[in-house]
Symmetry: C2
Subunit: 665 residues, 2 copies
């Protein structure tokens, strides 16, 4: 154990396990988490350094690992310890992402293919397909996006045309841009896909529906006739997830392969609707909550690595004559870099939990026929997914850069954290498009408020603003709750301005949509601040509640985290707040002083917080972030493993360099 870390840990004033239990929702969850992690992360058969491998080797190694994992799961189920729900739990998005570092080539089967059949298939269809899928007799993916079509789903070009004679659907990708492109696991792994296509019957188009399409022979794994399939090439990250392309040429599937829970085509080719397609908004919310949880984990990982390293690394004396260089965490600037993302880990966790509860509430209401809170939920899930993924991406890079050059090494595990987070900024709804969705909701809501309508809770602050005298400036107090009020006031002020601009543009003969596009920058801004208001409010309430229910020493920690989180938001949105709230220069100075003070306090016990995140060394797999802090020994050991270092002289010297040097330059 590194001496510095030993000393740091001896000074932590709270019980680390108490915070761990809070973080994972109780002792039982922590136990199970550790039990499962131990099974999968301690197995030498699942350890391999793939960073030196070629692209093909990486893929093959990922497939090998998947089958090792499947055998372990089978064993757990056979032993009766778990039922089959353990499969999606382990092979779905989150659990494996530290083990198969560039992505599990079967994740989409568990994440989207099986859930897709569950949510869009009739009971008969579920009975037919789910047993095969759950036992991996078939492996599927979800094929929606196309080469030329992403976020705008209605623009998809793939067609499924009903042939009344044979009672079959005929699938085609009629153009180059109609090629399915991006679906995970599609390239060489799956043998089926849930294909989203424009449904045609009796010469009429009925929009996008889902079709189960067999792609490869179950015995030989060869592509079936009419199926053009492959992977889309190397990427910034996720290189073993086997993203693929798919062209379809007159591929015929039986009528029953259309998922028909929400609507169906009858044998005679009639199109019939069963359910309100609005309900898909709920599914999207669920997926977005999952994304926030996932990026939070990678942000927490990055913070853990960078914080431990900053407690071990010594550099740049603060007083020029000091003999010993200080731990770099003594530098105020370093504390700021690390602790703001650390506070955001808490906020991301709280926000996703809270949004999940709101999702469940809304679903219950919908079951009773009450759809009133669905638009609010959808609007929130849009801006929060965007904010949280942007924050996590930014925070992870700050952590990586805070480790200087060493953070650029793959062995630090920091580059991988970023590569896992940043795609979430564009997938499942590109962040800018999502902000615009939220902004549309805010404009509509603001208009209704002006007309005197009632409002739901997350936009109540707008109503309050409208009811105020517009010349009445909010006076400012710099407590967390005061910052929240100021931020609400700034958000409401911005929303009001944006609304007026929009009206003005419409008066100038622009259509509502043209005006909305022209006001795009306003719209992004208001959606972001609205989301921030929600996050601060939820974080504030939940942290205060947690502080009340904790041991006194942990309560201090919670309050420090809240203090830092709110002061950082105040700094970030000072420009907007100053436009709408009277804040004196003195108040700004006071907040700056408090910011510096909370950083100094957190520096004293921060090791306790990152230890409480409870990442095992196997999961971190980082030369800079291991529990014992033996950074330099690990760096050298990792370097020694490079294949280039297995021989004194690489063959390129003899092949290329020497002949050239010997020639008479």
């Amino acid at each position: 154990m590194n001496k510095d870390l030993e000393i740091e840990r001896s000074k932590v004033p709270f019980k680390i396990e108490e915070l761990t239990n809070w973080f994972y929702g109780g002792e039982k969850n922590v136990k199970e988490k550790r039990f499962l992690e131990n099974i999968f992360y301690s197995d030498p058969d699942l350890k391999s350094d793939t960073s030196y491998m070629s692209h093909v080797e990486k893929y093959e190694e990922a497939i090998r690992k998947v089958t090792v994992i499947l055998k372990k799961l089978k064993h757990l189920v056979n032993q009766g310890q778990y039922n089959e729900e353990i499969y999606p739990k382990i092979l779905g998005a989150q659990f494996l992402k530290h083990l198969i570092k560039e992505g599990n080539p079967t994740s989409v089967h568990f994440d989207m293919f099986i859930p897709g059949i569950k949510s869009m298939g009739t009971q008969v269809q579920q009975d037919e397909w789910l047993p095969k899928a759950l036992t991996l007799k078939i492996i599927g993916t979800y094929a929606q996006t196309e080469l030329g079509h992403g976020t705008y789903v209605r623009g998809l070009e793939t067609t499924a045309t009903f042939d009344e004679n044979t009672k079959e659907f005929v699938l085609n990708t009629p153009t180059l841009t109609a090629y399915k492109w991006w679906p995970g696991n599609l390239g060489h792994t799956v043998n089926h896909a849930l294909v989203m296509a424009q449904l045609y019957t009796k010469g009429k188009c009925y929009g996008i529906h889902a079709f189960i399409v067999p792609l490869r022979d179950l015995e030989t794994h060869k592509p079936l006739p009419g199926v053009h399939i492959g992977e889309i090439g190397t990427k910034f990250g996720y290189n073993t997830v086997n993203n693929g392309f798919l062209g379809l040429k007159n591929v015929r599937i039986p009528r029953k392969n259309m998922l028909m829970k929400n609507s169906e085509v009858t044998e005679s080719g009639e199109f019939v609707i069963h359910k309100n397609p609005l309900l898909t908004y709920g599914t999207m919310t669920m997926i977005r909550v999952g994304i926030i949880q996932e990026v939070q984990v990678f942000l927490a990982k990055a913070v853990t690595i960078a914080t431990r390293y900053s407690l071990v690394r010594r550099q740049s004396p603060i007083n020029p004559n000091d003999e010993i260089e200080p731990q770099i965490i003594e530098h105020t600037t370093q504390q700021y870099k690390l602790f703001v993302p650390l506070a955001k880990v808490f906020s991301l966790k709280i926000t996703s939990d809270y949004l999940w509860n709101q999702y469940e509430d809304t679903m219950k209401k919908i079951d009773k026929g009450d759809l009133t809170t669905l638009p609010e939920l959808h609007a929130l899930s849009c801006c929060l997914k965007a904010i949280c993924t942007n924050d996590a991406a930014e925070g992870t890079e700050i952590c990586r850069l805070s480790c200087g050059g060493h953070g650029f090494l793959n062995s630090s595990a920091l580059p991988d954290c970023y590569k896992m987070i940043t795609p979430a900024q564009t997938y499942e709804g590109e962040n800018t498009v999502l902000y615009l969705q939220t902004a549309r909701y805010l404009m509509k809501t603001y208009g209704e408020i002006l007309k005197g309508s009632k409002v739901t809770s997350t936009v109540a602050y707008l109503k309050k603003y409208v009811d105020l005298n517009s010349n009445q400036r909010e006076s400012f107090d710099s407590s967390s709750r005061g910052i929240l009020r100021a931020l609400q006031y700034a958000a409401a002020g911005k929303i009001s301005q944006a609304y007026n601009n929009l009206q003005q543009r419409m008066k100038n003969n622009n259509s509502k949509e043209q005006a909305f596009n022209q006001s795009g920058l306003d719209m992004i801004k208001i959606a972001e601040i609205h989301g921030r208001v929600y996050m601060l409010e939820v974080t504030l309430n939940e942290i205060e509640k947690s502080a009340k229910n904790s041991s006194p020493n942990l309560a201090f920690v919670f309050r420090d985290i809240l203090e830092l989180f709110s002061l950082d938001l105040a700094t970030k949105y000072m420009g907007e707040m100053l436009q709408f709230v009277n804040i004196t220069s003195q108040a700004i100075e006071i907040m700056q002083g408090r910011l510096e003070a909370v950083l100094r306090r957190m520096r004293q016990y921060v090791i306790g917080i990152v230890d409480a995140f409870d990442f095992s060394d196997q999961i971190l797999d980082s030369t800079l972030g291991a529990y014992d802090g033996n950074v330099y020994e690990r760096l050298i050991e990792a370097a020694k493993k490079s294949p280039l270092n297995q021989e004194d002289v690489n063959k390129s010297f003899h092949l290329y360099l020497k002949p050239f040097l010997k020639s008479n330059l």
Copy 2:
């Protein structure tokens, strides 16, 4: 040619070649650039897609390419077209970075080993070593950073101890943390290094000096006795630059291998100083200008790719009933994403040119014994390196994300742009440490101004602020020059606050350095705004000058770029400006309107600007950014080249998946 791009190009109102000539400093430079690019980038022997290769294969391929390039250079020199200065020009940092995409494994030889001998060696030493280095009889690197020591050079642990008996230096890395770590090309490529080590003679330490140390046998390339050498493993990027580690154990070199221009150890072991070591500040400035130029090129590349793609890609109707989806550049939010980084390309170019001139002026003054402008130059180069690399990294990622999922593909070339820029945020002075250097200068200067001292030009605005009545708030006008004045006022206000805080902290019994560290967040902020003030001032002056000297239609373009650049800065620093300058809500609204207007104007001719950057398709090497805009065809063609796509069924199916599927799950 894609139809949309054809139409776009037909509407460009200015002569693209005129802007290209401006950008590269004249027609002659453009011609030479194209001539050289054609030689190296059109050779099929230098084309290879390395993204599917293993780490070792990538390195070997990079070495192969280097020797092909060397042969071409030899040919050019033999033909008498160029003298030997062409070697560092081509094999140094910039030119090859699009060809050997993860870094040239001989770049440091040309970038730092040869220049190091030139700047630190005596004439005798230069005569001995340079001919061998220039003809590659020896290949060297520059070994400064150590496993435990980076930015703080005085902390280096490697020792060079003079042995009076043998007249040799004995080199050692006495601890694990003393291992040299990071030097480019060190791992398996070079046979010499310029090692920076603590000089000891007669039992006394004389600080860091440079020593030429042979590392490998010139015939066999095997490491010499006492030399422990290898590469440091895979990284986020730059994987073929062959960064290495180096342990030295009693490695003896002759006395004459110490570079002795600035100081020397005599035969009898006396240490003698010849020159003012302050002069190294000049070299650091030169390197930082080079870094700004380099990141500017990659930012321009990213902007080019994302802009062309945004003119071809169609998505999300603005009016819901539109039949055809618009080019995504029609979305205001997309314009903002692309054009702000575009404007920054101009500002980065102008800033680095200007800083270079200032460097040359300062060097001339130093030759005459006048060191007065050196501190100002050093302070500027610190904060500008930090700002420009941060801006370029952020801008490149914005461009990548603006292409949605497709920007995540390596074939887009966008991930590579980021991987080439982001290391510059930590190397050659970590950005936060650099900001703190600038802040120290600002605090010192502000103190001197308060005492009534004269000031140099870049801090004249501080003097003006101090001379004003402190209650006299600047009134605001929103022209570019008005924004500059407001930003100067905000910078001066912040600097004044920071100065007062520092004084207060020193009164509270903190040492000057402790107080400075406690004020770290203030310090970062003032260094950044100070740099922004300089950049805006220089950009404003240079662009106005360029506009005056251009054809009328190009002059409009220059003025739009300036308008966007300054309005964006105003938005970014609104919080700081509002604290010190009276800006009405109305003025903010007006600026927002002008921002939207300039985006709309630039959208009309932006293709002309990115075409003017004059990146050939070979240099871009991007599926999304090629001149003809045939994005989708290129994506499919690139995917087809994946080795995984060369066979219908990957062996992992037979090896792992099928056996598992056949077992009775």
